[in-house]
């Protein structure tokens, strides 16, 4: 087990710069998730850690050792691929033991390691089968088993669940988390699915266009995104963004004017933070889960407002309501019992303690 460090790592392909100077410190036993839209350089970063891609510039350290020029087999890492990459002509046992057999481990040691890993993953009965006789979830387990038996310093996962159906994906997600809690190996996990990132990670690295947009715990990213990109990427449904103007309120303090005559008071504890931006056109951000139906007494950081519903989407546990503010569609999450019908007016509550203001020029959260 080891920590991993990336220092100003750059990867250039012929013309494109896939990774543009990434700094990242991953602690021993930590579960780090790289998340971001397709093509943002997550896989490239992971593959550079694995040694499958050469580093154009910068340094990669595993356990304090510079590994830039160390071939993959000597980095003591294990990788799980999106398409599993099981050896089709070998049984599950042979697949899992291939690396150990190449390293000439004693037979008894190999057997005990494979049996142990198979036990953790619940695939003991499958050891004599071949990959084509396995379901997607079982193949996924074997791929993980192959990584576990090597007992490497670092686990690398590249979108390991994206070939599975939705239900199995949730199940395997839990499984991966359990395995990590059992073996506690430092893990770097790549996904484009922010829910996977949030549920699995100790810390999440949000990547965009080859750079790190923000690094933090799932809680940090959710509550204090630093950029519009992170604010919009983390959370589902995505945060609402509405153009607004920050103005001095009549009775002191600040408020945001959104159009359609909608004005939200800025909570007093934010006044100091926003004061220098008074008079500017900004982006007002609020998550759907912070736009609800009125619930009992109105808290001081909440404000009621009336809208005409556009679309109503019942989800079972809750209902999504959509309405227009100027020409922007805004989503709220309300209790199914209180949701109105499309075209009907409805009173909603904005929890302004969770609002964000974004500078439209820099896209930074103020």
């Amino acid at each position: 087990m080891a920590n991993v460090a990336l220092r100003k790592v750059v990867k250039k392909y012929d013309r494109t710069e896939a990774v543009r100077g990434i700094d990242l410190d991953i602690a021993d036993k930590e579960f780090i998730v790289l998340v971001g839209p397709s093509g943002c350089g997550k896989s490239t970063t992971l593959r550079m850690i694995a040694g499958l891609e050469e580093v154009t510039d910068g340094e990669i350290l595993i356990g304090g050792d510079l590994v830039n020029d160390v071939p993959p087999k000597d980095r003591d890492i294990a990788m799980v691929f999106q398409n599993y990459a099981l050896y089709p002509h070998m049984t599950v046992y042979e697949n899992m033991s291939f690396g150990l057999r190449l390293k000439k481990f004693p037979k008894a040691e190999i057997k005990s390691r494979v049996d142990h890993a198979a036990g953790i993953l619940g695939i003991t009965e499958l050891l004599e089968r071949r990959p084509r006789q396995l379901s997607g979830g079982q193949r996924q387990r074997v791929a993980m088993g192959r990584a576990i038996v090597r007992n490497p310093r670092v686990f690398l996962f590249d979108e390991p669940l994206s070939n599975l159906d939705a239900k199995l994906r949730v199940q395997m997600r839990t499984e991966i988390k359990k395995v990590h809690q059992t073996v506690k190996t430092t893990t770097v996990y790549v996904t484009h699915d922010q829910i996977e990132a949030m549920t699995l990670a100790d810390r999440v690295v949000v990547m965009n266009a080859g750079t790190i947009e923000q690094l933090g715990t799932p809680h940090d990213l959710y509550h204090t995104p630093r950029t519009k990109f992170v604010a919009g990427f983390i959370g589902s449904p995505a945060m609402n963004f509405v153009n607004c103007k920050l103005v001095e309120a009549a009775g002191g303090g600040l408020s945001t004017r959104l159009g359609n005559g909608l004005t939200f008071k800025v909570p007093p504890d934010r006044t100091q933070r926003y004061k220098s931006h008074v008079g500017r056109e900004l982006l007002f951000g609020l998550r759907p889960e912070h736009i609800t139906e009125p619930r009992g007494d109105l808290r001081p950081d909440c404000q009621e407002f009336d809208v005409t519903l556009d679309v109503v989407e019942p989800m079972g546990m809750e209902t999504m309501v959509y309405f227009m503010v100027e020409d922007t569609e805004v989503c709220g999450r309300v209790n199914p019992a209180s949701a109105g019908a499309p075209g009907q007016p409805m009173r909603l509550v904005a929890e302004l303690g969770n609002m964000h203001l974004i500078d439209p020029q820099t896209e930074a959260v103020i």
Partner: protein, 330 residues
């Protein structure tokens, strides 16, 4: 004619018909053409077999139907060039008269071929040449395909195309310069010369098949092997060759067929009868001036075709799988 009639008929009937009926018509049409092609391709071997049951005298007899096998036992000794040993055997076979005349005739031809001609030597030489060529081809083509198909290096793409282009040069163009080469090496009139030149035909095509096959293997597989600690040799032997086995078998069959059936090179390079191979040997020894011993020629051709036939029968499934994989990804 009938084919065209059915082809034109079928769509009109389908218009008002159910899916089941249109499927039935599709089935009938495909069977029709399959049978047509089967007949088309099986007539020559049948004619060969029918002729192989006859003596030269029976073949030249204008009163018998050339499409039917021998109906009566041929007279012994009528095959010109038959030596005494052959005659003795012939006589022995004739005694087992409970056998049909056609079988007797066929066995007589085989016996004469085996005893009175150098056919067994040709067969042995062909076998030696073919086995060597297949081994040489595989030893060169598999690593070549692996490096061209899987390792990206400067010029690997151009080289892969170049390999295929060399295959397109016909051997009837190559045999004159190759004659010089083989002569310079002192291998003229020796079947080892053939072992040397056949790979010029087999290696490019087999490399090309294997490149296509290797490229169809997902790249994550070698990355996984790389991480598992395999070097390139281990990757080739423990991952790529087993996974690409169908392609390997297809390539083997191809190399086998080419060197078993090659005609131009042995015709040009070999003239001693102890060095000749089946294709050229049969023709040179059984066609003397303008005397064609058709019965024995046909028998020899049938016997020569037997080994490839047996190999095809056993490996057919692999062969087809290998060819199609190469075709789509090559």
């Amino acid at each position: 004619m009938t084919a065209a009639a059915i082809g034109a008929d079928a769509p009109r009937r389908v218009v008002g018909g159910s899916i089941r009926r249109s499927r039935r018509w599709a089935l009938i049409t495909s069977y029709f053409f399959l049978i047509l092609f089967a007949i088309f391709f099986l007539v020559p071997p049948y004619y060969q077999l029918a002729t192989a049951t006859k003596t030269s005298e029976q073949i030249s007899n204008q009163d018998t139907n050339p499409w039917l096998p021998a109906m009566s036992a041929g007279q012994e000794g009528l095959n010109p060039g038959g030596a005494n040993a052959g005659k003795a055997n012939l006589a022995k076979i004739k005694k087992d008269s409970w056998l049909p005349a056609a079988v007797q005739g066929f066995m007589a031809n085989i016996s004469q071929l085996m005893n009175d001609t150098d056919f067994p030597i040709y067969f042995r030489n062909t076998a030696i040449v073919t086995v060597c060529v297949v081994i040489i081809t595989m030893v060169i083509a598999v690593p070549a395909a692996f490096s061209l198909g899987r390792m990206k290096f400067w010029g690997s793409g151009v080289l892969a195309t170049g390999v295929f282009l060399t295959y397109l040069v016909p051997d009837s163009l190559l045999f004159i310069p190759l004659f010089k080469v083989v002569g310079g090496l002192g291998l003229l009139d020796s079947y080892w010369g053939l072992v040397l030149v056949y790979p010029t035909l087999t290696v490019p095509f087999c490399t090309w098949i294997m490149i296509g096959y290797f490229q169809s293997i997902p790249k994550e597989l070698d990355e996984a092997a790389l991480i598992d600690g395999a070097n390139h040799i281990q990757m080739l032997f423990r991952i790529f060759i087993p996974v690409a086995l169908p392609g390997l078998i297809a390539a083997t069959i191809f190399a086998f067929t080419v060197s078993w059936a090659a005609f131009v090179y042995p015709m040009a390079f070999i003239y001693s009868s102890d060095q000749l191979v089946l294709t050229a040997g049969t023709i040179t020894s059984l066609v003397k001036a303008d005397v064609y011993q058709w019965g024995m020629i046909m028998t020899a051709a049938l016997l020569a075709a037997a080994p490839p036939l047996v190999i095809y029968a056993f490996l057919m499934d692999y062969y087809i799988a290998g060819l199609t994989a190469g075709a789509t990804k090559g």
